[in-house]
């Protein structure tokens, strides 16, 4: 009996120390994160393998399955799918491949959403709170397998339009030159 109890205790203690960020659900984002970004950023065009120095990237969104699934929900409900389809592209470029015009790093995608890009990508500055942009960023990255599969969303309860993000093969992002992006 004693050994059983000790065993259980040991196992529990180990597991508790390990912790689990994947399941963290931040239901009340901090005021900063819920800010809409009002500072005008003069970006110009700075595409490719030379990402803009952006704000520091919060990793919490990319590690939380809840945040990524929220990103997926927002991606559809804010009608990102209207142009990018479900990642396959349409009016806008596809997001499931490894080809990144404006960089694949979270801060690149963040800047793309907030600032907009020529040829049709509107700016969502003011419209989408910062934490939601990060959630969408995390989801977009999951589309090309850049997130661990236990964080990326599974299939949705909708018509089957593409393989779920969790089974996306990991892509090596390349810039417009076709060369792999320098990793950070």
């Amino acid at each position: 009996m004693l050994s059983e109890a000790l065993f259980a205790l040991f196992l529990t203690a180990t597991l508790m120390l390990a912790g689990c960020k994947r399941e963290e659900r931040q239901l009340r984002p901090s005021p900063q994160a819920s800010q809409v970004i009002n500072e005008a950023q003069v970006s110009g065009l700075n595409p490719g393998a030379n990402p803009l120095p952006g704000p520091p990237t919060p990793t919490i969104y990319e590690e939380s399955a809840y945040a990524v699934s929220e990103g997926k929900r927002l991606f559809n409900q804010y009608n990102c799918s209207g142009c990018h389809a479900h990642g396959g592209g349409g009016i806008g470029p596809p997001l499931m491949d490894n080809y990144w015009i404006y960089g694949s790093q979270p801060e690149n995608i963040f800047a793309t959403i907030v600032q907009g890009r020529p040829n049709g990508m509107p700016s969502f500055r003011n419209r989408i709170p910062e934490f939601q942009v990060w959630e969408i960023v995390a989801y977009v990255r999951s589309l090309s397998g850049l997130l661990p599969s236990d964080v990326a969303p599974s299939r949705s309860d909708e018509l089957h339009v593409k393989p779920p993000e969790q089974s996306m093969p990991k892509q090596t992002p390349v810039g417009i030159t076709g060369a792999p992006e320098p990793s950070k």
Binding site: M1, S3, E4, A8, L11, T12, L15, M16, A18, G19, C20, R22, E23, E24, R25, L27, A65, Y66, V68, S69, S149, D150, V151, P153, S154, R155, S156, D157, E158, L159, H160, P163, P164, S167
Partner: protein
């Protein structure tokens, strides 16, 4: 059969003890395959899960004590009530009432030396333990399942529960069902094959009848929940579409399959309670049970009818009226066998000589509490009433009356009754009475109140409620009862540890009971029975002839048991049982690795199968020659 000169007991005893001895020490603990050890482990582990589940219940009642109480937020609350429900059903009620009591008692009551398939039985324990730890590790790692204990899709499905929460829950189900199925096979085989000569079906103690019926219910019901939890798991991990309405899936399929398991499950939990009642009541009324045949019929009928009522959990989904009326009728019909048992118990007490000792006191608690639960069940069976009270606190009250009444009260009766057999010492009567009254009062305060909350419109599974609903008074009252219940359980634990070391010695048969477990010393020796008994009546010890024969001729130097036939328990052949072994434990570990791995990657099934197959081979590989070559015969 030739008469043989019996070897004197004094020389046989050490041989038998050596043959049946289970290894000691740290590794020995993992090799033990004797049913008394495994049965006690099931009970202790299940009781610990009961305490943990109770702590969660207390946290919930604390949160609900006042309106908009901010003790815990909705995310944690949802995990807590899900883990509470899952723990109480899958990790406490069934493992305690069916596996724990069954594994410990059935071989003793059958009059044999170990359970059939002892290694499968030990394996079942480890698998259950890992499943329980998985669910609780999930809760501690913030991966607590959070879609309720029946995890309806689509809420528990891939879209609405991101992360691994539901996967942990679904795999916990797999673990506990593998365990329950293994034990069901062991118990049913023990009952059908290992009964003492003379214990014909017509003389089988009621508890064996009920364990047999429960085993069969487990065998037919548990596959449903395994199927459905696997569908859920596959929907979440390998993108099957069982429950996706957009491509032909169906959310009600989940409910049908789940409740096809879920309702028999209620009887799997409740029938052991009636088994304890039918065992305890005759002892404390000093007479044979009244109505043996009606009770057996009722038990069998309950086991069968339990499979025909699952839709009454789904009345609010708007099924066709015809089918709803049919299921109302079926549900009301299932009241009849339970009523028959109640009347038979009443008649037994009426025409007996009642001694209100501790187990019997808990029996009266069971009558009272379960009666209320059963009667509110009659209300719930009616479709229109069900539309009003379904998924409200009325239902919460109902099933706590049924499950606590039908399982927990009998469990405490059974514990007070059999702990002297298990530990060899009597429990303290005064502390036992304090325990009973605290628990009984606290229980009724907490749960009777919930009927009113339900009628006043409080849905279940809400983490809070607004002050404008005026539910706060009753909720505070309900929460206060928890303190009494908790104190009662603490008194029980104190009583247990106190009596375990300092209680009065029990002796083999402290209650003057009639079934075979009371024929051996308390606690039973490693080989259970020095001489296997024969039986002459339904209460073997009460009905024994002055010169009741014993069985001889089994070998003492190898672990051998007597196999009899199912109907009239005529001796058929001798069977050698496997000795202690580490392989069941290793196989359980391999299976656990495969199951848990499969949550994270479908390849876990493929790669995980290799160590599983290896350990199973190690388990089943022949252990060299038997001491004497055995000649097979067609029987």
């Amino acid at each position: 059969m030739s008469q043989q000169v019996a070897v004197p007991e004094s020389t046989r005893e050490p041989i038998l003890a050596r043959t049946w001895r289970q290894p000691g020490g740290f590794w020995g603990w993992f090799q033990n395959v004797h049913h008394t050890a495994i049965g006690v482990r099931f009970m202790v582990t299940a009781f610990i899960f009961f305490l943990l589940g109770g702590v969660l219940a207390a946290i919930m009642r604390w949160q609900l004590a006042t309106p908009e109480h901010g003790v815990i937020g909705p995310d944690l609350y949802n995990q807590i009530f899900t883990v509470h429900g899952s723990t109480m059903i899958f990790l406490f009620a069934v493992p305690m009432m069916f596996q724990g009591f069954g594994v410990y008692l059935v071989p003793l009551i059958c009059g044999t030396r170990n359970i059939a398939f002892p290694r499968l039985n030990a394996f079942s324990y480890y698998v259950y333990l890992v499943g329980g730890l998985l669910l609780w590790a999930g809760l501690l790692l913030r991966t607590g399942a959070d879609a309720g204990w029946f995890a309806y899709v689509p809420l528990s499905g891939p879209e609405f529960t991101p992360g691994k929460r539901s996967d942990f829950w679904a795999q916990m189900i797999t673990f506990t069902e593998v365990s329950a199925l293994g034990v069901a096979v062991s118990i049913a085989t023990t009952i059908l094959r290992y009964r003492a000569p003379g214990m014909t079906l017509n003389r089988m103690p009621l508890i064996l009848w009920e364990k047999l019926v429960i085993s069969m219910a487990v065998i037919f019901a548990m596959p449903a929940v395994m199927v459905v939890s696997y569908m859920l798991l596959m929907d979440r991990t390998i993108n099957t579409q069982f429950f996706n309405p957009a491509v032909g899936g169906d959310v009600l399929l989940y409910q049908h399959l789940f409740w096809f398991f879920g309702h028999p499950e209620v009887y799997i939990i409740f029938l052991p309670g009636t088994a304890i009642a039918s065992t305890v009541i005759p002892v404390f009324c000093r007479r044979h049970i009244f109505g043996y045949v009606p009770i057996v019929t009722s038990v069998v009928a309950t086991g069968i009818l339990g499979f025909g009522v699952w839709v009454h959990h789904m009345f609010a989904t708007g099924l066709p009226q015809m089918s709803e009326s049919f299921f109302t009728a079926a549900t009301l019909m299932i009241v009849i066998p339970t009523a028959v048992q109640f009347y038979c118990w009443m008649a037994t007490i009426w025409h007996g000589r009642l001694q209100l000792m501790l187990p019997m006191l808990w029996m009266f608690g069971f009558f009272f509490v379960f009666l209320i639960g059963g009667l509110s069940g009659v209300m719930l069976a009616s479709v229109p009433l069900n539309w009003q009270v379904h998924d409200t606190f009325f239902v919460v009250a109902h099933f706590h009356y049924v499950l606590i009444g039908g399982a927990l009260f009998p469990m405490f009766a059974g514990l007070y009754f059999w702990i002297p057999k298990i530990t060899g010492r009597m429990m303290n009567t005064l502390l036992g009475k304090v325990h009973f009254w605290l628990f009984f009062a606290g229980f009724n305060i907490t749960f009777f109140t919930m009927h009113f909350l339900g009628l006043r419109g409080m849905p279940r599974r809400v983490y809070t409620y607004g002050p404008e609903m005026h539910w706060e008074g009753l909720n505070l009252l309900a929460s206060s009862g928890v303190l009494l219940m908790a104190t009662g359980v603490i008194v029980f634990i104190v009583n247990f540890f106190h009596s375990k070391s300092r209680g009065r010695l029990a002796g083999p048969n402290p209650w003057g009971a009639g079934s075979l477990e009371w024929a051996v010393s308390s606690p039973p020796p490693a080989y259970n029975f020095l001489e296997l008994p024969t039986v002459n009546g339904r209460e073997p010890l009460w009905d024994a002839l002055p010169n009741q024969p014993v069985v001889t001729g089994l070998r003492d130097d190898i672990p051998e048991v007597l196999v009899t036939n199912s109907l009239d328990s005529e001796p058929q052949h001798r069977d050698e049982l496997p000795p202690a072994s580490i392989w069941p434990f290793l196989a359980a570990i391999a299976v656990s690795v495969a199951f848990i791995w499969s949550i994270f990657s479908p390849w876990g099934v493929a790669y995980g199968a290799i160590p599983v197959a290896a350990t199973l081979l190690g388990w089943l590989w022949p252990r060299g020659h038997s001491p004497s070559p055995r000649v097979p015969e067609e029987v």
